[in-house]
Subunit: 427 residues, 2 copies
């Protein structure tokens, strides 16, 4: 009975989870794929750091990259260290030396994936990454294999647990963004520097990976419109609730007549949709195929064991005899995406105007919107006309980004506007 030897770069939350799964579920894993898995080498940043969980005896624990990459008879290298420099070198070296690689590093795949997939192909080895998107949710395999006979019409995802936790707390407990963020930090749901999570960058990395899987196209990170949640206010959450919506940080891609419309942004999601029901630090992905219709996947998007479960599934697949399928497009090179001009994208919108005095303001707002082909679906006013900084909320029917930007430029230049207008899409 064969033993598969693993070298793990990075032994934090996910690495520990992986080691525990191999230890605690070894019998199930053996029953399923007929193989044993052994961790032979572990690369850590600080070898002196005290750890609750240590890899078993006979494991080379090192903080020396040279020593790690030169470790003999390793079958599969698992990259769980994050970042795009040392991680890139380790993955590249492993692939070039004919070793399969499993990674959870969406940042690396988004920025340098094309290059790495090329190297993997040249060397006929696998580069698998189920854990890089939505943790324990098997969305990579679903798109790569289960839905492989479909034209993907759209993907909409809640792909960052930290952002979703913050928005859920703001919605459920009426917190403001800063309060919810510090709470997330205290609970360990947010890192010391939460920029990637709250500014949508982590979600953007994941969208680049999903777009490549769904369309076989390279959508450059630099071209992806990305907006985070740091500007979402408690009052927007409340207005959204009143109107029957939840605000979620959304990653989206749509096939619009052969061109891809993609982006990351906070959006109002109708309460009746499953996506609106994704709470706390969970993730969810909705994929619509032209044959399968809408498919919805929900689960733990992060965490030691859920992410470890996804990493182990890749390891088991690569340990099997199948020829690796890395991109899901074995017969076609990944080419540049044909990107829809963002100005031409259309959506329904939520606007929150802040005005000094409401006398006549409604009329002016409606007039300007109408002049830019934007028709109003609902209007909500709160507070007395005498107040300053009175919020006025409109929801609209479908309008183009171009028209919306022009209309808001004009509106925000009006004298009665006391704060920049808040604008969000409605899914």
């Amino acid at each position: 009975m064969q033993t598969v030897k693993l070298a793990i770069a990075g032994f934090g939350t996910v690495g520990t989870g992986l080691a525990r799964i191999i230890e605690e579920n070894g019998d199930v894993i053996l029953a399923r794929c007929g193989k044993k898995f052994q961790i032979v080498s572990v690369l850590v940043r600080d070898i002196k750091k005290r750890r609750d969980y240590l890899p078993g005896p006979g494991v080379t624990l090192t903080d020396n990259i040279e020593e790690f990459t030169s470790c003999p008879d390793v079958d599969i290298v698992v990259e769980l260290m994050g970042g795009t420099t040392a991680a890139f070198d380790i993955v590249k070296k492993a692939l070039e030396s004919g070793k399969h690689v499993v990674t959870a590093n969406k940042h690396l795949l988004a920025e340098r994936g094309i290059e790495l997939f090329e190297i993997a192909k040249e060397n006929g080895v696998g580069l698998y990454y189920e854990a890089s998107v939505a943790g324990g949710i098997p969305i990579v395999q679903a798109i790569k294999e289960s839905l492989a006979a479909n034209r993907i019409k759209s993907i909409v995802g809640i792909l960052n647990g930290t952002a979703n936790y913050i928005l859920s707390e703001m919605s459920t407990n009426g917190l403001e963004f800063e309060t919810a963020l510090s709470q997330a930090k205290e609970l360990g749901y947010a890192e010391a520097d939460p920029t990637f999570d709250i500014e949508g960058i982590d979600t953007a990395h994941k969208m680049v990976v999903l777009i490549r899987l769904a369309y076989g196209k390279d959508y450059p990170l630099s071209k992806l419109p990305v907006e985070g949640i740091s500007r979402v206010e408690g009052q927007d959450i409340l207005f959204a609730r009143d109107l029957g919506y939840r605000i979620k940080l959304i990653g989206q891609v749509r096939d619009v007549g052969g061109k891809l419309e993609a982006g990351v942004f906070p959006a109002l999601v109708k309460y009746t949709l499953l996506l609106a029901r994704v709470g706390g630090n969970y993730n969810a992905v909705r994929v619509e195929g032209n044959a399968v219709g809408p498919s919805f996947f929900h689960g733990q998007g992060a965490g030691s064991l859920p992410t470890g479960s996804a990493v182990m599934a890749d390891i088991m697949a690569l340990a099997g005899s199948r020829t690796p399928d890395n991109t899901g497009f074995n017969n076609t090179p990944i080419t540049k995406a044909d990107i829809l001009d963002p100005e031409l994208a259309t959506s329904e919108y939520y606007f929150r105007f802040t005005v000094a005095d409401k006398a006549g303001v409604m009329a002016s707002l409606s007039k300007i919107l109408a002049e830019h082909n934007i028709s109003i679906a609902q209007a909500v006013q709160k507070g007395a006309a005498s107040e300053t900084n009175v919020p006025i909320v409109f929801t609209t029917h479908k309008a183009s980004t171009k028209d919306v930007n022009a209309a808001l430029r004009e509106i925000d230049s009006m004298s009665f506007i006391t704060r920049e207008t808040v604008s969000m899409r409605i899914l």
Copy 2:
């Protein structure tokens, strides 16, 4: 570039969907797996029947099983005819002649799957069945591969669209069962003989398949407790709503200390759970693994294109170079399941008692339940004390099936009980 030749047994809804997918998505399919797929032979029940969609020219259309099975150079046989006799012979013959088989036939797999998997193993060919459970939802591959590193703690599924449609209509539009059923028939959601769907038999077939995948165990259909929805009344739906639940036809399996507790039954599902939000003819499956945690899958559980999409995914997988993995347990034979004594299963319960007169009745009911270790969570009375056939609804804390059966036997023997008590589990 290789062309994979397909022989299709049964050209109804799913067969037509498959043919359309091959025709309309052929370019995507080629880009993904580098192969073309060609239908060379189709077996139909009635060759004279007029069809909206005909397989292309060069396809042998026959109603003769001999002619179909003897068709030369076929790579993969697709069984979409249903039933367990002719379908069994065709699948068996195909496997024995070294051909891969893809089937959507849960009935066949539940009753004679073990036998067929043996034959497939002996001949080193694939017997794939993604489409047999939950149509377009990739639950088979998820359990077989994506969650392969997990001990499966439980599976809870809404696996029959017809039953779910009927219950949804009863709940949303206040229909009684019979009315909702005839409506489902008119809309083509229910067959002329809906017994398998509404009595839970179809769900039971699917549970046997899922249990085999999740545990590598054979749970005989004959041993699975199965209860349908034909006895669910409008008033139970309404009481459930008042208490914050939806009634769903559930297929469930749980690992209780190494023994399997499984069954098919209508149950009250808390409104806040995603499972309670599965509407109309959709399907959903919740799988809980010891590493991945709860994973939820939702999508089209039936229909021409969604089911065709699942069939095509299997065809593409088998056309690839991987060694087939049929049961998900390559290293262990499927053995008999260790089944938990149903009497020992525990659950929270919903009871609807029908009494002639409520004076003193509450006390007697509570007393009998208490004597059988059943504690009451909520009690709801409606109607005046003078009425006859007054419904009294209790929900309980966890109780064993044994205690519940004994208590209800005693209660239903009381003089004040005018109709058999309705009892349902609460998830």
